[in-house]
Symmetry: C2
Protein backbone atom coordinates (compact mmCIF):
# COMPACT_ATOMS: atom_id res chain seq x y z
CA UNK A 1 0.00 0.00 0.00
CA UNK A 2 1.32 3.44 -0.85
CA UNK A 3 2.11 6.14 1.67
CA UNK A 4 -0.71 8.28 0.25
CA UNK A 5 -3.25 5.53 0.76
CA UNK A 6 -2.14 4.97 4.36
CA UNK A 7 -2.56 8.66 5.01
CA UNK A 8 -6.04 8.63 3.49
CA UNK A 9 -7.11 5.76 5.72
CA UNK A 10 -5.65 7.61 8.71
CA UNK A 11 -7.91 10.58 7.93
CA UNK A 12 -5.38 12.92 6.32
CA UNK A 13 -7.31 15.64 4.46
CA UNK A 14 -4.45 16.49 2.14
CA UNK A 15 -4.17 12.85 1.09
CA UNK A 16 -7.91 12.79 0.36
CA UNK A 17 -7.61 15.93 -1.71
CA UNK A 18 -4.68 14.56 -3.69
CA UNK A 19 -6.37 11.26 -4.37
CA UNK A 20 -9.50 13.00 -5.61
CA UNK A 21 -7.29 14.82 -8.07
CA UNK A 22 -5.99 11.44 -9.27
CA UNK A 23 -9.59 10.40 -9.90
CA UNK A 24 -10.34 13.62 -11.78
CA UNK A 25 -7.30 13.18 -13.97
CA UNK A 26 -8.17 9.54 -14.62
CA UNK A 27 -4.74 8.53 -13.36
CA UNK A 28 -3.59 5.06 -14.38
CA UNK A 29 -3.02 4.41 -10.70
CA UNK A 30 -6.81 4.26 -10.18
CA UNK A 31 -7.36 0.52 -10.66
CA UNK A 32 -4.71 -0.24 -8.03
CA UNK A 33 -6.01 2.41 -5.62
CA UNK A 34 -9.64 1.37 -5.94
CA UNK A 35 -8.74 -2.27 -5.48
CA UNK A 36 -6.75 -1.47 -2.35
CA UNK A 37 -9.37 0.68 -0.64
CA UNK A 38 -12.04 -1.88 -1.48
CA UNK A 39 -11.83 -3.52 1.95
CA UNK A 40 -12.19 -0.17 3.72
CA UNK A 41 -15.57 0.75 2.29
CA UNK A 42 -19.11 0.51 3.58
CA UNK A 43 -19.18 2.87 6.53
CA UNK A 44 -20.69 6.01 5.01
CA UNK A 45 -24.31 6.84 4.23
CA UNK A 46 -24.56 8.24 0.71
CA UNK A 47 -27.26 10.88 0.38
CA UNK A 48 -28.07 12.30 -3.02
CA UNK A 49 -29.53 15.78 -3.46
CA UNK A 50 -30.82 16.62 -6.92
CA UNK A 51 -33.29 18.98 -8.55
CA UNK A 52 -33.53 21.80 -11.10
CA UNK A 53 -31.37 24.92 -10.78
CA UNK A 54 -32.79 27.48 -8.43
CA UNK A 55 -34.50 24.83 -6.30
CA UNK A 56 -32.22 25.76 -3.40
CA UNK A 57 -30.09 22.61 -3.26
CA UNK A 58 -26.94 24.37 -2.07
CA UNK A 59 -28.84 26.09 0.71
CA UNK A 60 -30.32 22.75 1.70
CA UNK A 61 -26.94 21.03 1.62
CA UNK A 62 -25.60 23.78 3.83
CA UNK A 63 -28.44 23.22 6.35
CA UNK A 64 -27.89 19.46 6.26
CA UNK A 65 -24.20 19.95 7.02
CA UNK A 66 -25.04 22.09 10.07
CA UNK A 67 -27.59 19.53 11.23
CA UNK A 68 -25.23 16.60 10.66
CA UNK A 69 -22.35 18.32 12.44
CA UNK A 70 -24.61 18.93 15.45
CA UNK A 71 -25.14 15.14 15.48
CA UNK A 72 -21.36 14.61 15.41
CA UNK A 73 -21.22 13.31 11.85
CA UNK A 74 -18.18 13.74 9.63
CA UNK A 75 -19.47 14.94 6.29
CA UNK A 76 -18.18 14.81 2.73
CA UNK A 77 -19.85 16.71 -0.09
CA UNK A 78 -19.44 15.99 -3.79
CA UNK A 79 -20.98 18.66 -6.01
CA UNK A 80 -21.48 17.88 -9.68
CA UNK A 81 -22.82 19.94 -12.55
CA UNK A 82 -22.86 17.70 -15.61
CA UNK A 83 -25.42 19.68 -17.58
CA UNK A 84 -23.20 22.71 -17.89
CA UNK A 85 -19.88 22.12 -19.59
CA UNK A 86 -19.08 25.81 -19.23
CA UNK A 87 -19.15 26.30 -15.49
CA UNK A 88 -16.93 23.27 -14.97
CA UNK A 89 -19.07 22.45 -11.98
CA UNK A 90 -16.95 24.55 -9.72
CA UNK A 91 -19.64 26.97 -8.67
CA UNK A 92 -21.73 24.64 -6.55
CA UNK A 93 -18.95 23.60 -4.23
CA UNK A 94 -17.68 27.13 -3.97
CA UNK A 95 -21.09 28.39 -3.02
CA UNK A 96 -21.27 25.90 -0.15
CA UNK A 97 -17.65 26.23 0.84
CA UNK A 98 -17.91 29.96 1.14
CA UNK A 99 -20.71 29.67 3.62
CA UNK A 100 -20.47 28.38 7.14
CA UNK A 101 -18.22 25.35 6.98
CA UNK A 102 -14.99 26.62 5.49
CA UNK A 103 -12.93 26.13 8.63
CA UNK A 104 -14.66 22.99 9.93
CA UNK A 105 -12.27 20.01 9.92
CA UNK A 106 -15.21 17.61 10.00
CA UNK A 107 -16.43 18.76 6.59
CA UNK A 108 -14.80 18.16 3.20
CA UNK A 109 -16.32 19.64 0.06
CA UNK A 110 -15.24 18.94 -3.49
CA UNK A 111 -16.70 19.94 -6.84
CA UNK A 112 -16.45 17.71 -9.87
CA UNK A 113 -16.33 19.26 -13.31
CA UNK A 114 -18.00 17.65 -16.25
CA UNK A 115 -15.03 17.20 -18.51
CA UNK A 116 -14.94 14.29 -20.85
CA UNK A 117 -17.65 11.75 -21.48
CA UNK A 118 -20.81 11.45 -19.44
CA UNK A 119 -19.73 8.02 -18.27
CA UNK A 120 -16.72 9.86 -16.94
CA UNK A 121 -18.71 11.96 -14.50
CA UNK A 122 -20.54 8.98 -13.02
CA UNK A 123 -17.31 7.09 -12.68
CA UNK A 124 -15.49 10.00 -11.08
CA UNK A 125 -18.38 10.55 -8.65
CA UNK A 126 -18.44 6.88 -7.73
CA UNK A 127 -14.72 6.86 -7.04
CA UNK A 128 -14.61 10.16 -5.14
CA UNK A 129 -17.43 8.90 -2.93
CA UNK A 130 -15.39 5.76 -2.26
CA UNK A 131 -12.35 7.80 -1.29
CA UNK A 132 -14.48 9.81 1.14
CA UNK A 133 -15.93 6.59 2.53
CA UNK A 134 -12.46 5.10 3.05
CA UNK A 135 -11.40 8.41 4.63
CA UNK A 136 -14.03 7.88 7.31
CA UNK A 137 -16.92 10.15 6.43
CA UNK A 138 -20.25 9.32 8.08
CA UNK A 139 -22.42 11.14 5.58
CA UNK A 140 -21.54 11.77 1.96
CA UNK A 141 -23.81 14.28 0.28
CA UNK A 142 -23.86 14.07 -3.51
CA UNK A 143 -25.32 17.21 -5.02
CA UNK A 144 -26.11 17.59 -8.68
CA UNK A 145 -27.88 20.29 -10.63
CA UNK A 146 -30.50 19.19 -13.09
CA UNK A 147 -32.86 16.26 -13.31
CA UNK A 148 -31.92 14.81 -16.70
CA UNK A 149 -31.04 11.19 -17.29
CA UNK A 150 -27.35 11.79 -16.56
CA UNK A 151 -28.06 13.31 -13.16
CA UNK A 152 -30.45 10.48 -12.36
CA UNK A 153 -27.74 7.95 -13.27
CA UNK A 154 -25.32 9.68 -10.95
CA UNK A 155 -27.93 9.57 -8.21
CA UNK A 156 -28.00 5.78 -8.39
CA UNK A 157 -24.78 5.87 -6.39
CA UNK A 158 -26.65 7.33 -3.42
CA UNK A 159 -28.42 5.12 -0.89
CA UNK A 160 -31.04 7.78 -0.28
CA UNK A 161 -31.90 10.28 -2.97
CA UNK A 162 -33.69 13.51 -2.12
CA UNK A 163 -35.30 15.26 -5.10
CA UNK A 164 -35.68 18.97 -4.37
CA UNK A 165 -38.42 20.83 -6.19
CA UNK A 166 -40.19 24.15 -5.75
CA UNK A 167 -43.78 25.30 -6.26
CA UNK A 168 -42.63 26.39 -9.75
CA UNK A 169 -41.39 22.95 -10.84
CA UNK A 170 -44.57 21.74 -12.56
CA UNK A 171 -42.82 21.60 -15.94
CA UNK A 172 -39.91 19.57 -14.59
CA UNK A 173 -42.27 17.10 -12.97
CA UNK A 174 -44.18 16.55 -16.19
CA UNK A 175 -40.98 16.13 -18.24
CA UNK A 176 -39.17 13.81 -15.91
CA UNK A 177 -42.11 11.99 -14.35
CA UNK A 178 -40.92 8.40 -14.79
CA UNK A 179 -37.30 9.25 -14.13
CA UNK A 180 -38.09 11.16 -10.94
CA UNK A 181 -40.21 8.35 -9.59
CA UNK A 182 -37.49 5.86 -10.31
CA UNK A 183 -34.81 7.81 -8.47
CA UNK A 184 -36.56 9.63 -5.60
CA UNK A 185 -36.57 8.10 -2.14
CA UNK A 186 -37.80 11.42 -0.78
CA UNK A 187 -39.42 14.43 -2.41
CA UNK A 188 -38.82 17.82 -0.89
CA UNK A 189 -40.75 20.93 -1.86
CA UNK A 190 -38.48 23.80 -0.98
CA UNK A 191 -39.60 27.43 -0.74
CA UNK A 192 -42.87 25.98 0.50
CA UNK A 193 -44.09 29.38 1.65
CA UNK A 194 -44.65 30.29 -1.98
CA UNK A 195 -47.93 30.00 -3.81
CA UNK A 196 -48.62 26.61 -5.37
CA UNK A 197 -46.75 24.54 -2.78
CA UNK A 198 -49.84 22.56 -1.81
CA UNK A 199 -50.85 21.95 -5.41
CA UNK A 200 -47.45 20.41 -6.17
CA UNK A 201 -47.53 18.52 -2.87
CA UNK A 202 -50.75 16.80 -3.91
CA UNK A 203 -49.49 16.14 -7.42
CA UNK A 204 -46.37 14.46 -6.08
CA UNK A 205 -48.28 12.47 -3.48
CA UNK A 206 -50.64 11.21 -6.17
CA UNK A 207 -47.66 10.24 -8.36
CA UNK A 208 -45.93 8.50 -5.48
CA UNK A 209 -48.98 6.44 -4.62
CA UNK A 210 -49.09 5.07 -8.14
CA UNK A 211 -45.36 4.39 -8.24
CA UNK A 212 -43.64 1.03 -8.49
CA UNK A 213 -41.69 1.35 -5.20
CA UNK A 214 -42.91 -1.67 -3.29
CA UNK A 215 -42.07 -1.37 0.36
CA UNK A 216 -41.14 2.26 0.84
CA UNK A 217 -43.78 4.93 0.42
CA UNK A 218 -41.80 7.93 -0.80
CA UNK A 219 -42.48 10.83 1.61
CA UNK A 220 -43.22 14.29 0.26
CA UNK A 221 -42.05 17.06 2.60
CA UNK A 222 -42.48 20.81 2.55
CA UNK A 223 -39.42 22.72 3.71
CA UNK A 224 -37.93 26.21 3.63
CA UNK A 225 -34.19 25.67 3.55
CA UNK A 226 -33.42 29.38 3.57
CA UNK A 227 -35.48 29.92 6.72
CA UNK A 228 -34.24 26.66 8.24
CA UNK A 229 -37.76 25.22 8.39
CA UNK A 230 -38.36 21.49 8.06
CA UNK A 231 -34.71 20.38 8.02
CA UNK A 232 -34.96 18.26 11.17
CA UNK A 233 -37.99 16.46 9.81
CA UNK A 234 -36.07 15.83 6.60
CA UNK A 235 -33.10 14.36 8.45
CA UNK A 236 -35.51 12.08 10.31
CA UNK A 237 -36.98 10.84 7.05
CA UNK A 238 -33.51 10.27 5.62
CA UNK A 239 -32.70 8.21 8.71
CA UNK A 240 -35.93 6.32 8.36
CA UNK A 241 -35.06 5.46 4.78
CA UNK A 242 -31.58 4.30 5.76
CA UNK A 243 -33.07 2.07 8.43
CA UNK A 244 -35.56 0.73 5.94
CA UNK A 245 -32.64 -0.14 3.65
CA UNK A 246 -30.78 -1.93 6.40
CA UNK A 247 -33.84 -3.91 7.38
CA UNK A 248 -34.54 -5.01 3.82
CA UNK A 249 -32.58 -6.73 1.09
CA UNK A 250 -32.96 -3.67 -1.14
CA UNK A 251 -29.49 -2.30 -0.56
CA UNK A 252 -27.77 -5.64 -1.16
CA UNK A 253 -29.71 -6.16 -4.38
CA UNK A 254 -29.12 -2.58 -5.50
CA UNK A 255 -25.40 -2.77 -4.79
CA UNK A 256 -25.04 -6.00 -6.75
CA UNK A 257 -26.83 -4.32 -9.66
CA UNK A 258 -24.59 -1.26 -9.47
CA UNK A 259 -21.49 -3.45 -9.37
CA UNK A 260 -22.73 -5.45 -12.33
CA UNK A 261 -23.29 -2.25 -14.30
CA UNK A 262 -19.95 -0.83 -13.18
CA UNK A 263 -18.02 -3.90 -14.26
CA UNK A 264 -19.66 -3.93 -17.69
CA UNK A 265 -19.06 -0.17 -18.05
CA UNK A 266 -15.42 -0.32 -17.00
CA UNK A 267 -14.81 -3.21 -19.38
CA UNK A 268 -16.42 -1.33 -22.27
CA UNK A 269 -14.44 1.77 -21.37
CA UNK A 270 -11.24 -0.19 -21.21
CA UNK A 271 -12.03 -1.46 -24.68
CA UNK A 272 -12.58 2.10 -25.92
CA UNK A 273 -9.14 2.90 -24.54
CA UNK A 274 -7.65 -0.10 -26.27
CA UNK A 275 -9.18 1.02 -29.56
CA UNK A 276 -7.86 4.55 -29.06
CA UNK A 277 -4.37 3.21 -28.42
CA UNK A 278 -4.60 0.96 -31.47
CA UNK A 279 -5.48 4.03 -33.57
CA UNK A 280 -2.10 5.51 -32.80
CA UNK A 281 -0.03 2.34 -32.74
CA UNK A 282 -1.53 0.24 -35.54
CA UNK A 283 -1.72 1.86 -38.98
CA UNK A 284 -4.07 -0.79 -40.41
CA UNK A 285 -6.67 0.06 -37.76
CA UNK A 286 -6.23 3.79 -38.30
CA UNK A 287 -6.76 3.19 -42.04
CA UNK A 288 -10.02 1.35 -41.39
CA UNK A 289 -11.24 4.14 -39.13
CA UNK A 290 -10.41 6.66 -41.85
CA UNK A 291 -12.60 4.75 -44.30
CA UNK A 292 -15.49 5.00 -41.86
CA UNK A 293 -14.93 8.71 -41.17
CA UNK A 294 -14.89 9.51 -44.86
CA UNK A 295 -18.02 7.46 -45.45
CA UNK A 296 -16.30 4.93 -47.69
CA UNK A 297 -17.59 2.09 -45.53
CA UNK A 298 -20.31 2.05 -42.86
CA UNK A 299 -19.47 2.08 -39.17
CA UNK A 300 -20.96 -1.42 -38.96
CA UNK A 301 -18.57 -2.67 -41.63
CA UNK A 302 -15.76 -0.96 -39.76
CA UNK A 303 -16.69 -2.90 -36.63
CA UNK A 304 -16.77 -6.20 -38.54
CA UNK A 305 -13.22 -5.52 -39.73
CA UNK A 306 -11.70 -3.96 -36.61
CA UNK A 307 -13.22 -6.01 -33.79
CA UNK A 308 -11.49 -9.33 -34.60
CA UNK A 309 -8.15 -7.54 -34.71
CA UNK A 310 -8.54 -6.49 -31.06
CA UNK A 311 -10.26 -9.43 -29.42
CA UNK A 312 -9.63 -13.10 -28.87
CA UNK A 313 -12.00 -15.37 -30.77
Amino acid sequence: MTELLKKLLAGDRLALSRMITLVENQSDKLPAIMSQIHDHLGHASMIGITGPPGAGKSTLVNRLITQGRALGKKIGVVAIDPSSPFSGGALLGDRIRMQDHASDEGVFIRSLGSRGALGGVSRATRDVVRLMDAFGMDWILIETVGVGQTELNIMEIAHTTVVVLTPESGDTIQTMKAGLLEVADLFVINKADREGADKILHELKAMVEMSPHQNWLVPVLKIQAFHNVGIEALVKEIDAHQQFLQGSQELVVKQAMLREAELAELLAEQFREKFKEALSSRPEIKALQKKVLEGEISAYEGVLKIFPKLTKP
Copy 2:
Protein backbone atom coordinates in the same frame (compact mmCIF):
# COMPACT_ATOMS: atom_id res chain seq x y z
CA MET B 1 -28.59 -8.12 -51.60
CA THR B 2 -31.72 -9.57 -50.07
CA GLU B 3 -35.17 -9.36 -51.60
CA LEU B 4 -36.32 -7.20 -48.67
CA LEU B 5 -33.54 -4.70 -49.26
CA LYS B 6 -34.32 -4.46 -52.97
CA LYS B 7 -37.93 -3.75 -52.10
CA LEU B 8 -36.90 -1.04 -49.65
CA LEU B 9 -34.77 0.67 -52.28
CA ALA B 10 -37.69 0.42 -54.70
CA GLY B 11 -39.86 2.31 -52.23
CA ASP B 12 -41.90 -0.56 -50.81
CA ARG B 13 -43.56 0.64 -47.57
CA LEU B 14 -44.03 -2.82 -46.18
CA ALA B 15 -40.33 -3.54 -46.64
CA LEU B 16 -39.48 -0.31 -44.80
CA SER B 17 -41.78 -1.25 -41.97
CA ARG B 18 -40.31 -4.74 -41.67
CA MET B 19 -36.76 -3.47 -41.70
CA ILE B 20 -37.51 -0.94 -38.98
CA THR B 21 -38.74 -3.85 -36.89
CA LEU B 22 -35.38 -5.56 -37.45
CA VAL B 23 -33.68 -2.44 -36.09
CA GLU B 24 -35.97 -2.32 -33.07
CA ASN B 25 -35.30 -5.96 -32.29
CA GLN B 26 -31.55 -5.48 -32.73
CA SER B 27 -31.52 -8.23 -35.31
CA ASP B 28 -28.12 -9.75 -36.01
CA LYS B 29 -28.79 -9.00 -39.67
CA LEU B 30 -28.27 -5.28 -38.94
CA PRO B 31 -24.54 -5.04 -39.68
CA ALA B 32 -25.07 -6.60 -43.11
CA ILE B 33 -28.13 -4.46 -43.86
CA MET B 34 -26.53 -1.21 -42.77
CA SER B 35 -23.40 -1.97 -44.75
CA GLN B 36 -25.46 -2.70 -47.86
CA ILE B 37 -27.64 0.40 -47.75
CA HIS B 38 -24.58 2.54 -47.05
CA ASP B 39 -24.18 3.52 -50.72
CA HIS B 40 -27.84 4.57 -50.96
CA LEU B 41 -27.73 7.24 -48.28
CA GLY B 42 -27.40 10.99 -48.35
CA HIS B 43 -30.54 12.16 -50.10
CA ALA B 44 -32.76 13.11 -47.16
CA SER B 45 -32.74 16.24 -45.01
CA MET B 46 -32.88 15.26 -41.34
CA ILE B 47 -34.85 17.74 -39.26
CA GLY B 48 -34.95 17.33 -35.49
CA ILE B 49 -37.84 18.63 -33.40
CA THR B 50 -37.32 18.64 -29.65
CA GLY B 51 -38.62 20.44 -26.59
CA PRO B 52 -40.41 19.83 -23.28
CA PRO B 53 -43.74 18.01 -23.14
CA GLY B 54 -46.69 20.22 -23.85
CA ALA B 55 -44.66 22.51 -26.12
CA GLY B 56 -46.78 21.44 -29.07
CA LYS B 57 -44.21 19.39 -30.98
CA SER B 58 -46.70 16.92 -32.41
CA THR B 59 -48.94 19.73 -33.63
CA LEU B 60 -45.91 21.37 -35.21
CA VAL B 61 -44.77 18.12 -36.85
CA ASN B 62 -48.27 17.74 -38.24
CA ARG B 63 -48.11 21.25 -39.74
CA LEU B 64 -44.66 20.62 -41.17
CA ILE B 65 -45.91 17.45 -42.85
CA THR B 66 -48.77 19.38 -44.49
CA GLN B 67 -46.39 22.12 -45.60
CA GLY B 68 -43.81 19.64 -46.91
CA ARG B 69 -46.41 17.61 -48.78
CA ALA B 70 -47.62 20.80 -50.48
CA LEU B 71 -44.02 21.21 -51.68
CA GLY B 72 -44.06 17.66 -53.04
CA LYS B 73 -41.70 16.22 -50.40
CA LYS B 74 -41.84 12.60 -49.29
CA ILE B 75 -41.69 12.65 -45.51
CA GLY B 76 -40.62 10.18 -42.86
CA VAL B 77 -41.24 10.79 -39.17
CA VAL B 78 -39.42 9.06 -36.29
CA ALA B 79 -40.98 9.80 -32.91
CA ILE B 80 -38.97 8.94 -29.79
CA ASP B 81 -39.78 9.23 -26.11
CA PRO B 82 -36.69 8.15 -24.20
CA SER B 83 -37.53 9.87 -20.94
CA SER B 84 -40.58 7.74 -20.32
CA PRO B 85 -39.96 4.00 -20.13
CA PHE B 86 -43.63 3.50 -19.38
CA SER B 87 -45.28 4.93 -22.46
CA GLY B 88 -42.97 2.95 -24.73
CA GLY B 89 -42.84 5.99 -26.93
CA ALA B 90 -45.87 4.85 -28.87
CA LEU B 91 -48.06 7.82 -28.05
CA LEU B 92 -46.26 10.46 -30.07
CA GLY B 93 -46.46 8.67 -33.38
CA ASP B 94 -50.03 7.67 -32.75
CA ARG B 95 -51.00 11.22 -32.05
CA ILE B 96 -49.59 12.34 -35.39
CA ARG B 97 -50.73 9.33 -37.31
CA MET B 98 -54.29 9.75 -36.21
CA GLN B 99 -54.41 13.25 -37.55
CA ASP B 100 -54.39 14.24 -41.19
CA HIS B 101 -51.86 11.99 -42.85
CA ALA B 102 -53.02 8.46 -42.14
CA SER B 103 -53.89 7.67 -45.73
CA ASP B 104 -51.11 9.65 -47.43
CA GLU B 105 -48.68 7.33 -49.24
CA GLY B 106 -46.02 10.05 -49.19
CA VAL B 107 -45.81 10.01 -45.40
CA PHE B 108 -44.40 7.28 -43.17
CA ILE B 109 -44.55 7.62 -39.39
CA ARG B 110 -42.91 5.33 -36.87
CA SER B 111 -42.54 5.52 -33.11
CA LEU B 112 -39.52 4.16 -31.32
CA GLY B 113 -39.85 2.87 -27.79
CA SER B 114 -37.14 3.33 -25.25
CA ARG B 115 -36.45 -0.28 -24.37
CA GLY B 116 -32.97 -1.24 -23.40
CA ALA B 117 -30.00 1.00 -22.91
CA LEU B 118 -29.92 4.67 -23.78
CA GLY B 119 -27.24 4.03 -26.35
CA GLY B 120 -29.83 1.70 -27.82
CA VAL B 121 -32.29 4.48 -28.55
CA SER B 122 -29.71 6.65 -30.32
CA ARG B 123 -28.55 3.70 -32.35
CA ALA B 124 -32.05 2.65 -33.31
CA THR B 125 -32.92 6.22 -34.30
CA ARG B 126 -29.78 6.52 -36.40
CA ASP B 127 -30.53 3.28 -38.21
CA VAL B 128 -34.25 3.93 -38.74
CA VAL B 129 -33.37 7.32 -40.20
CA ARG B 130 -30.96 5.57 -42.57
CA LEU B 131 -33.63 3.13 -43.69
CA MET B 132 -35.97 6.03 -44.40
CA ASP B 133 -33.20 7.80 -46.31
CA ALA B 134 -32.51 4.70 -48.42
CA PHE B 135 -36.25 4.34 -48.98
CA GLY B 136 -36.24 7.73 -50.67
CA MET B 137 -37.63 10.19 -48.15
CA ASP B 138 -36.90 13.86 -48.83
CA TRP B 139 -37.47 15.05 -45.28
CA ILE B 140 -37.03 12.97 -42.18
CA LEU B 141 -38.49 14.56 -39.06
CA ILE B 142 -37.06 13.27 -35.80
CA GLU B 143 -39.31 14.17 -32.88
CA THR B 144 -38.35 13.63 -29.27
CA VAL B 145 -39.97 14.68 -26.03
CA GLY B 146 -37.76 16.21 -23.42
CA VAL B 147 -34.60 18.27 -23.50
CA GLY B 148 -32.29 16.17 -21.35
CA GLN B 149 -28.85 15.07 -22.44
CA THR B 150 -30.17 11.88 -24.03
CA GLU B 151 -32.59 13.77 -26.23
CA LEU B 152 -29.89 16.22 -27.18
CA ASN B 153 -27.62 13.32 -28.15
CA ILE B 154 -30.34 11.89 -30.35
CA MET B 155 -30.74 15.28 -31.96
CA GLU B 156 -27.14 15.20 -33.14
CA ILE B 157 -28.33 12.90 -35.90
CA ALA B 158 -30.38 15.74 -37.38
CA HIS B 159 -28.88 18.23 -39.81
CA THR B 160 -31.17 20.96 -38.56
CA THR B 161 -32.51 20.89 -35.03
CA VAL B 162 -35.54 22.94 -34.04
CA VAL B 163 -35.98 23.44 -30.30
CA VAL B 164 -39.63 24.14 -29.50
CA LEU B 165 -40.37 26.13 -26.35
CA THR B 166 -43.35 28.03 -25.01
CA PRO B 167 -43.73 31.23 -22.99
CA GLU B 168 -43.81 28.94 -19.91
CA SER B 169 -40.41 27.32 -20.56
CA GLY B 170 -38.26 29.64 -18.45
CA ASP B 171 -37.29 26.80 -16.11
CA THR B 172 -36.25 24.51 -18.95
CA ILE B 173 -34.12 27.24 -20.49
CA GLN B 174 -32.30 27.86 -17.24
CA THR B 175 -31.70 24.14 -16.62
CA MET B 176 -30.56 23.24 -20.08
CA LYS B 177 -28.92 26.48 -21.14
CA ALA B 178 -25.61 25.13 -22.42
CA GLY B 179 -27.16 21.99 -23.86
CA LEU B 180 -29.85 23.90 -25.73
CA LEU B 181 -27.35 26.29 -27.24
CA GLU B 182 -25.19 23.44 -28.37
CA VAL B 183 -27.99 21.61 -30.14
CA ALA B 184 -30.36 24.30 -31.46
CA ASP B 185 -30.06 25.50 -35.04
CA LEU B 186 -33.41 27.21 -34.64
CA PHE B 187 -35.46 28.24 -31.64
CA VAL B 188 -39.23 28.30 -31.96
CA ILE B 189 -41.53 29.84 -29.38
CA ASN B 190 -44.83 28.09 -29.87
CA LYS B 191 -48.13 29.34 -28.45
CA ALA B 192 -46.69 32.79 -28.98
CA ASP B 193 -50.07 34.43 -28.40
CA ARG B 194 -49.64 33.70 -24.70
CA GLU B 195 -48.29 36.11 -22.15
CA GLY B 196 -44.54 36.12 -21.75
CA ALA B 197 -43.70 35.23 -25.36
CA ASP B 198 -41.72 38.41 -25.92
CA LYS B 199 -39.84 38.07 -22.66
CA ILE B 200 -38.66 34.60 -23.62
CA LEU B 201 -37.96 35.78 -27.17
CA HIS B 202 -35.53 38.36 -25.84
CA GLU B 203 -33.97 35.93 -23.38
CA LEU B 204 -33.28 33.44 -26.15
CA LYS B 205 -31.98 36.11 -28.52
CA ALA B 206 -29.58 37.32 -25.86
CA MET B 207 -28.41 33.74 -25.24
CA VAL B 208 -27.97 33.10 -28.95
CA GLU B 209 -25.88 36.20 -29.47
CA MET B 210 -23.45 35.05 -26.81
CA SER B 211 -23.34 31.49 -28.17
CA PRO B 212 -20.35 29.69 -29.67
CA HIS B 213 -21.99 29.05 -33.10
CA GLN B 214 -19.62 30.77 -35.46
CA ASN B 215 -21.21 31.29 -38.81
CA TRP B 216 -24.89 30.68 -38.24
CA LEU B 217 -26.85 33.07 -36.09
CA VAL B 218 -29.56 30.86 -34.58
CA PRO B 219 -32.94 32.41 -35.44
CA VAL B 220 -35.64 32.72 -32.80
CA LEU B 221 -39.16 32.52 -34.24
CA LYS B 222 -42.59 33.01 -32.75
CA ILE B 223 -45.21 30.60 -34.07
CA GLN B 224 -48.66 29.28 -33.24
CA ALA B 225 -48.67 25.73 -34.55
CA PHE B 226 -52.26 25.10 -33.53
CA HIS B 227 -53.48 28.16 -35.43
CA ASN B 228 -51.10 27.45 -38.32
CA VAL B 229 -49.29 30.76 -37.81
CA GLY B 230 -45.59 31.10 -38.66
CA ILE B 231 -45.10 27.65 -40.22
CA GLU B 232 -44.10 28.95 -43.64
CA ALA B 233 -41.51 31.25 -42.10
CA LEU B 234 -40.17 28.30 -40.11
CA VAL B 235 -39.84 26.14 -43.23
CA LYS B 236 -37.96 29.00 -44.90
CA GLU B 237 -35.53 29.19 -41.98
CA ILE B 238 -35.04 25.42 -42.05
CA ASP B 239 -34.25 25.70 -45.77
CA ALA B 240 -31.87 28.56 -45.09
CA HIS B 241 -30.05 26.45 -42.52
CA GLN B 242 -29.78 23.52 -44.92
CA GLN B 243 -28.35 25.80 -47.57
CA PHE B 244 -25.93 27.22 -45.05
CA LEU B 245 -24.81 23.66 -44.29
CA GLN B 246 -24.30 22.84 -47.97
CA GLY B 247 -22.31 26.00 -48.52
CA SER B 248 -20.03 25.35 -45.56
CA GLN B 249 -17.82 22.54 -44.41
CA GLU B 250 -19.89 22.17 -41.23
CA LEU B 251 -21.88 19.16 -42.38
CA VAL B 252 -18.82 17.26 -43.59
CA VAL B 253 -17.00 17.92 -40.33
CA LYS B 254 -20.07 17.05 -38.26
CA GLN B 255 -20.67 13.82 -40.15
CA ALA B 256 -17.08 12.71 -39.71
CA MET B 257 -17.43 13.39 -35.97
CA LEU B 258 -20.68 11.45 -35.77
CA ARG B 259 -19.14 8.52 -37.65
CA GLU B 260 -16.12 8.58 -35.35
CA ALA B 261 -18.38 8.47 -32.30
CA GLU B 262 -20.58 5.79 -33.86
CA LEU B 263 -17.64 3.53 -34.65
CA ALA B 264 -16.25 3.84 -31.11
CA GLU B 265 -19.73 3.24 -29.65
CA LEU B 266 -20.48 0.21 -31.81
CA LEU B 267 -17.10 -1.28 -30.95
CA ALA B 268 -17.67 -0.76 -27.22
CA GLU B 269 -21.15 -2.20 -27.54
CA GLN B 270 -19.85 -5.20 -29.44
CA PHE B 271 -17.42 -5.73 -26.59
CA ARG B 272 -20.26 -5.56 -24.05
CA GLU B 273 -21.97 -8.27 -26.09
CA LYS B 274 -18.82 -10.35 -26.15
CA PHE B 275 -18.57 -10.07 -22.36
CA LYS B 276 -22.23 -11.03 -21.97
CA GLU B 277 -21.70 -14.10 -24.15
CA ALA B 278 -18.59 -15.01 -22.20
CA LEU B 279 -20.65 -14.88 -18.99
CA SER B 280 -22.77 -17.73 -20.23
CA SER B 281 -20.14 -19.73 -22.08
CA ARG B 282 -17.05 -19.37 -19.90
CA PRO B 283 -17.40 -20.38 -16.23
CA GLU B 284 -14.11 -18.75 -15.17
CA ILE B 285 -15.39 -15.35 -16.34
CA LYS B 286 -18.76 -15.86 -14.68
CA ALA B 287 -16.91 -16.70 -11.45
CA LEU B 288 -14.92 -13.47 -11.61
CA GLN B 289 -18.08 -11.46 -12.21
CA LYS B 290 -19.67 -13.15 -9.20
CA LYS B 291 -16.77 -12.03 -7.02
CA VAL B 292 -17.37 -8.44 -8.12
CA LEU B 293 -21.14 -8.63 -7.58
CA GLU B 294 -20.70 -9.97 -4.09
CA GLY B 295 -18.12 -7.30 -3.28
CA GLU B 296 -15.32 -9.77 -2.77
CA ILE B 297 -13.15 -7.87 -5.26
CA SER B 298 -13.56 -4.38 -6.71
CA ALA B 299 -14.92 -3.84 -10.21
CA TYR B 300 -11.50 -2.48 -11.17
CA GLU B 301 -9.83 -5.68 -10.06
CA GLY B 302 -12.45 -7.60 -12.01
CA VAL B 303 -11.51 -5.66 -15.12
CA LEU B 304 -7.80 -6.35 -14.60
CA LYS B 305 -8.57 -10.07 -14.48
CA ILE B 306 -11.28 -10.34 -17.14
CA PHE B 307 -10.04 -7.97 -19.84
CA PRO B 308 -6.93 -9.94 -20.88
CA LYS B 309 -9.06 -13.07 -21.25
CA LEU B 310 -11.17 -11.38 -23.92
CA THR B 311 -8.70 -9.26 -25.85
CA LYS B 312 -5.56 -9.73 -27.86
CA PRO B 313 -2.48 -8.23 -26.22
